[in-house]
């Protein structure tokens, strides 16, 4: 029934010294368990190996992000998430592992521009000078939880809870306001 689904702030976008865009619906699946136990099922479902600490592994339109020593986050198309959740659950049957579709619990934003790190540095206690492509950080943006990864050249992706999507968009827009470039990282 995904045609009835809408993301937290459909079409929201702000053009500042970086461009902030609500990325729309994304598929996300939380996996908890011993990462070695999860490895085969993850490989089957996504084609990805278990990511190293704070890394994102990518294969085609799927990716797997390291969340904690016993937690992974699978990223996929929104429409694929229910099916993938079901097959992972089946593959991990009998194991001490938990699979949960959390796609709807999240809002996703894309920040584009050379100074994306400078905008986020106003909100997140993260060393953006040390954050590499394919690396993910679980952190906070001002007063709420967020995860950030470098999703491409001059591009970062930020995930937060859906309920604070508007708050996050307001924060990011304000942080990206022209004239307020801190010019620390770029």
């Amino acid at each position: 029934m995904s045609e009835l689904a809408r993301s937290a702030l459909p079409g929201a976008s702000y053009e500042g010294f970086v461009t902030v865009t609500e990325a729309g619906l994304r598929g996300m699946i939380t996996l908890r368990g011993d990462l070695a136990v999860l490895a085969d099922a993850v490989k089957t479902a996504t084609g990805c190996a278990i990511p190293a600490q704070r890394r994102v592994e990518q294969a085609g339109d799927k990716a797997v992000a390291w969340m904690s020593p016993d937690e992974l986050l699978i990223l996929c198309d929104y429409a694929d998430a229910p099916g993938l959740t079901a097959s992972l659950t089946k593959d991990l049957d009998g194991q001490f592992a938990t699979v949960a579709n959390v796609s709807d619990a999240r809002a996703v934003f894309t920040l584009r521009g050379a100074q994306a790190g400078d905008a986020l540095a106003k909100l997140c206690p993260v060393d953006f000078g040390a954050l590499r492509e394919g690396e993910i950080r679980r952190t906070r943006a001002a007063q709420v939880a967020a995860a950030i990864w470098v999703s491409g050249p001059q591009e970062m992706t930020l995930v937060c809870f859906r309920s604070v999507g508007q708050y996050m968009f307001d924060l990011l827009s304000r942080a990206a306001a022209p004239g307020s470039e801190p010019k620390f990282y770029a």
Binding site: M1, L4, A121, G129, Q143, Q166
Partner: protein, 1004 residues
């Protein structure tokens, strides 16, 4: 009179005029001026009145240490009090107002305080205003409020329109201070490859070396500064900031920096201030030193300035502080000022030197320039009223009863030696040593602030380290070792060689003359801003104050906005002398961040307006907003209290919603309820520990209401648990409790029961959850189709899942209203579409959304408790007659032991009952029942309190629940509740369940 010189001024652009106003009077300065320089150039030396005595005050310093020259800057929404003119860069349209005078700066009636200064000595407030007691409120306080204090607070309705922000940053080596020492330290650190940041609080690199005539490799310091800044600027691993003050050094290399981004250029897009939250591996403080005043009578008159400040004004801004300046000193450094003044064509009638002999190279140079040097002398007193008119000189070792010489002058330059700026070194525990040669405290390199590894993480260099001669070599060493300590492996070339003239030793002079009598001592200011004098500190010592911290608070020495930058050392020297002990034995007061005041805006950062606090919005938020929602906060969520229709007030709207839910269908946005997945082989065991009742016996497909207590047995949360499978439960929590309960679960799993195989996942936001409530609710769901929701297929307290009206739905048949009721969870993204579908499909069935107040009334009519209303952290389940939900079969659960304690099993605990007012009115929330007697404290004795109270649309009268002493045993008793007007409201104790006691309506 102060004035602009015809030539010179290394920091100003004479071609560019800047217009501003001072107390409404138009004035003109030059680009590059500080406001202080512009004001002096305009002949304005009187700049304010002092705190207690309303003494005329002028500029003393040229930088952050300025105690006197504080003004109110800006107007209206941008008005800001207590701004230092010495650190304010002048800009077009600047508006400054003086402070603390009445009725005017020139004519201040409150200056009478100064005529009777013995009335306001140290501790005067403590001693005088104790009695009679009633005088404090009506006489003393109003007078003190009018008389004391500096700037006014901004207007209550003023709203700061400027933007502020914070920035998290990281570096290996942070150098604080951009004088030549700081630049060298940064360069040496950067050459090794370390990531380096350099902050300078002023608008210029280089510090005071150019003013002081320092040479580097034989060239003027300016040339070396320009070259070094250019070099640093070109390095990728170096980040440089002007107008950025190191405000505080905290544990783990965390440093706050206060960047005044656009104070000097308002009305741009830039934020006004930026608060840097820097994590530095190592910190180098190169914060320089501050010159000390000398304590002589009248040292606070406008025109008396620090000698170094005076040459700053002449060299940097081409501003002469007067036509004729007497220099008074105990060291060689002040001779630089005399020479500078003389070169600028300003008269120097005499240099008054407290030392018996003066013969260093600078002294020789001054003498050669024809300046009279008096040795073994001091200033007896400064003459003048609102400005200096002359000085009387006496022998330094005398009592000062008579003068030996007299000079006419309109300004006095004083130098009592220097104090290294050790603040940042000290913030995190760096210790100091007393330097006998220079008579100052400087950082003790052997006792630095320590990091987690037990090693120091702050180094001081340059004047901040007490290096009063050449500094570059020490700064190089500091920068290099700091970089190495962060793991840098590169090397740095040897530094350039700086040189300054040799200085003869200084003399400690803490009072001038040394044996001054009382009438002189009570005119010697230590703390200009708080009006604390030599006589005050001496009085404190006589009254038994020995600790410098106590003396500080008793006399208020160093407690003003300047935090005693000029007064600290002078004050504790006077105290030490009065106590007959050496200065190091007295010690300093504690140096605390921030170094100078920082704006509240910078501290607030992004937390204003729509981003003041996160506001959590449910997937249906927009619909509520568009349909009359009258919001109420629930945790960080906003939930509709009710939906107002045209012509309705809250009461009417709530009654409509309640009545409709009881007769047709009500829909409630329950998405905010916590939904936590608990899964794993040990999930059932874990659930039995979390809840007071048995959860392991719950069958998949079934729901059960449960209570959660903390270790003390106090009720913490409640909700419906659904067993999803043998090893999975879905825990519903209260809206406000979800995050706490999730954290609580993880706490137990990670810290106590780490070997239990249980996972938790907080799925609160994955689902939109909608309650469909009322006698026609099943009809509506059947109309949506796709799922069998008949009484036989889906019994009360069961759940099922599938497709409902085309949506992915999980349907729980549970009721918090007493009606036939379903809660339906769909993925959050589909929530709005599902809600719309319910409303359109159910239109002819009378479907109508209801808000939280109707929810409360519906549950209160059924006698259901609400966490936060019936509970307040001191209530156990037994108080609420919930013993049925406390398992006796389980060996243990969280709170079990707590519930067994004597206090919890006391028979006379207040317990839950229903309350029915005799007149049908609604009891005030929280109202107390009184017995008419008094308790041990002679207060009215109480025997109960209201926990929930509403007007019931169903009953047509007020209903309430409350906790009452032995309440359930007293059915039918009438209690006296105190109304908000103090009157008594009679209410009878009744059964809390008022509506459908048998539960027939929900079970159809």
């Amino acid at each position: 009179m102060s004035h602009r010189l015809a030539s010179g001024g290394r920091l100003i652009d004479r071609a560019r005029d800047v217009k501003f106003t001072f107390n409404g009077k138009p004035m003109k300065g030059h680009a590059g001026d500080t406001l202080a320089a512009s004001l002096l150039a305009n002949g304005q030396t009187l700049l304010g009145r002092s705190f207690k005595y309303h003494r005329p005050r002028g500029i003393v310093a040229s930088g952050a240490e300025e105690p006197n020259a504080l003004v109110g800057l800006g107007k209206g929404n941008r008005y800001e009090p207590n701004q230092r003119v010495t650190t304010t860069e002048v800009f077009e349209g600047l508006s400054a107002e003086t402070q603390n005078h009445w009725p005017s700066l020139d004519f201040d009636l409150l200056a009478v305080n100064s005529l009777v200064p013995q009335f306001l000595t140290a501790g005067f407030y403590y001693k005088t205003f104790l009695r009679p007691r009633a005088f404090w409120k009506h006489v003393y306080e109003p007078f003190i409020r009018k008389s004391a204090g500096l700037g006014k607070a901004p207007a209550h309705d003023a709203r700061d329109p400027d933007r502020y922000e914070q920035l998290y940053a990281f570096c290996d080596v942070l150098v604080i201070g951009g004088g030549i020492a700081g630049l060298q330290a940064a360069l040496s650190a950067a050459e090794t490859g370390a990531r380096v940041a350099v902050w300078e609080q002023t608008a210029h690199w280089g510090g005071r070396a150019p003013v002081d005539g320092v040479t580097v490799d034989g060239q003027d310091a300016d040339a070396w500064i320009a070259a070094t800044v250019a070099k640093l600027d070109g390095m990728d691993n170096v980040h440089m900031r002007l107008r950025c003050m190191g405000a505080g050094v905290h544990d783990h290399g965390y440093v706050l920096g206060y960047e005044r981004v656009s104070d000097h250029a308002p009305n741009t897009d830039a934020p006004r201030h930026r608060l840097w939250r820097m994590r530095a591996g190592q910190i180098v403080t190169a914060t320089g030193a501050i010159e000390r005043p000398l304590s002589f009578a009248g040292n606070d008159l406008p025109g008396v300035m620090l000698a170094s400040a005076m040459r700053d004004y002449v060299v940097n801004y081409a501003v002469a502080p007067g036509q004729s300046v007497v220099v008074v000193t105990n060291n060689d450094d002040a001779y630089r000022t005399a020479i500078t003044l003389r070169h600028a064509g300003i008269g120097v009638p005499a240099i008054v030197d407290a030392r018996a002999e003066a013969d260093g190279p600078l002294v020789a140079k001054a003498r050669a320039a024809g300046i009279t040097v008096l040795t073994g002398k001091g200033i007896r007193k400064v003459k003048g009223g609102k400005k200096v008119t002359g000085v009387e000189v006496c022998r330094i070792d005398s009592k000062g009863t008579a003068f030996t010489e007299k000079f006419d002058c309109d300004a006095v330059a004083m130098s009592g030696g220097w104090s290294p700026v050790v603040h940042l070194w000290s913030h995190c525990g760096g210790k100091l040593v007393w330097d006998e040669a220079h008579h100052f405290f400087r950082p003790d390199a052997s006792r630095p602030p320590l990091g987690v590894d037990g090693a120091g993480f702050v180094r001081a260099c340059g004047a901040a380290n007490g290096d009063m001669g050449a500094v570059l070599s020490g700064a190089h060493e500091a920068g290099l070792t700091a970089a190495k300590a962060t793991g840098a492996t590169g090397s740095a070339p040897a530094p350039a060689t700086d040189s300054a003239p040799d200085m003869a030793p200084m003399d400690a002079v803490w009072m001038m003359p040394r044996n001054a009598e009382y009438d002189l001592r009570m005119k010697m200011w230590l703390d200009y801003q708080n009006d604390v004098k030599v006589s005050d500190v001496q009085l404190a010592a006589r009254e038994g104050y020995q600790s410098v911290e106590h003396t500080k608070r008793y006399t208020t020495l160093g407690m003003a906005t300047d935090q005693g930058k000029l007064s600290n050392i002078n004050g504790l020297a006077i105290l030490s002398d009065a106590l007959g002990q050496p200065i190091p034995a007295t010690g300093t007061t504690t140096f605390r961040p921030p170094y100078t005041p920082i704006s509240i805006g910078a501290i607030a950062g992004e937390a204003t307006g729509s981003t003041f606090q996160p506001l959590r919005r449910s997937p249906l938020h927009d619909w509520h907003d568009e349909n009359g929602a009258d919001w109420e906060p629930v945790g960080q969520w906003r939930r509709p209290y009710t939906y107002l229709r045209a012509g309705e007030d809250r009461h009417k709207a709530v009654n409509r919603e309640v009545a409709n839910a009881r007769s047709n269908i009500g829909t409630l946005d329950a998405s905010t309820l916590g939904k936590i997945l608990v899964q794993g082989p040990d999930a059932a065991r874990f659930m039995d520990m979390l809840y007071t009742n048995m959860m392991s016996s719950l069958k998949p497909g079934k729901c059960r209401y449960g209570l959660m207590c903390d270790e003390n047995g106090f009720l913490m949360d409640d909700g419906v648990v659904a067993r999803l499978s043998d090893d999975a439960f879905l825990v519903h929590t209260t809206s406000g409790g979800a995050d706490h309960v999730h954290g609580w679960m993880e706490d137990w799993l990670q810290c106590e029961w780490w070997d239990w195989k249980v996972h938790t996942v907080n799925l609160t936001e994955q689902y939109a959850q909608i309650a469909v409530v009322g006698p026609k609710s099943r009809q509506l769901l059947e109309r949506l189709g796709g799922m069998d929701v008949s009484a036989e297929a889906l019994k009360f307290m069961e759940w099922t899942e599938g497709r409902l009206g085309g949506f992915d739905a999980r349907v729980f048949r549970i009721s918090f209203s007493g009606e036939l009721s379903f809660e339906i969870a769909v993925p959050a993204g589909q929530g709005r579409a599902f809600w719309d579908k319910l409303l359109s499909e159910g239109a002819d069935l009378g479907v109508m959304p209801y808000g939280t107040e109707a929810l409360h009334i519906l549950r209160a009519e059924k006698g259901f408790i609400m966490i936060g209303d019936e509970t307040d952290g001191t209530v156990i389940p037994q108080d609420l007659n919930l013993n049925w939900a406390i398992s006796k079969k389980k060996d243990d659960f969280l709170g079990k032991r707590g519930m067994m304690r004597e206090e919890m099993v006391r028979p006379d605990r207040w317990k839950l009952v229903g309350l029915e007012t005799l007149d049908g009115s609604v009891l005030p929330h929280g109202a107390l029942a009184v017995t008419g007697g008094t308790n041990a404290n002679k207060q009215a004795e109480t025997e109960g309190r209201v926990t929930s109270t509403y007007h019931s649309a169903t009953m047509g009268r007020g209903i309430a629940m409350g906790l009452v002493l032995r309440g359930p045993d007293r059915m039918g008793d009438v209690l006296d509740f105190v109304g908000t007007d103090g009157g008594r409201i009679k209410a009878r104790i009744v059964d809390p369940v008022l509506y459908d006691k048998e539960g027939a309506k929900q079970n159809v």
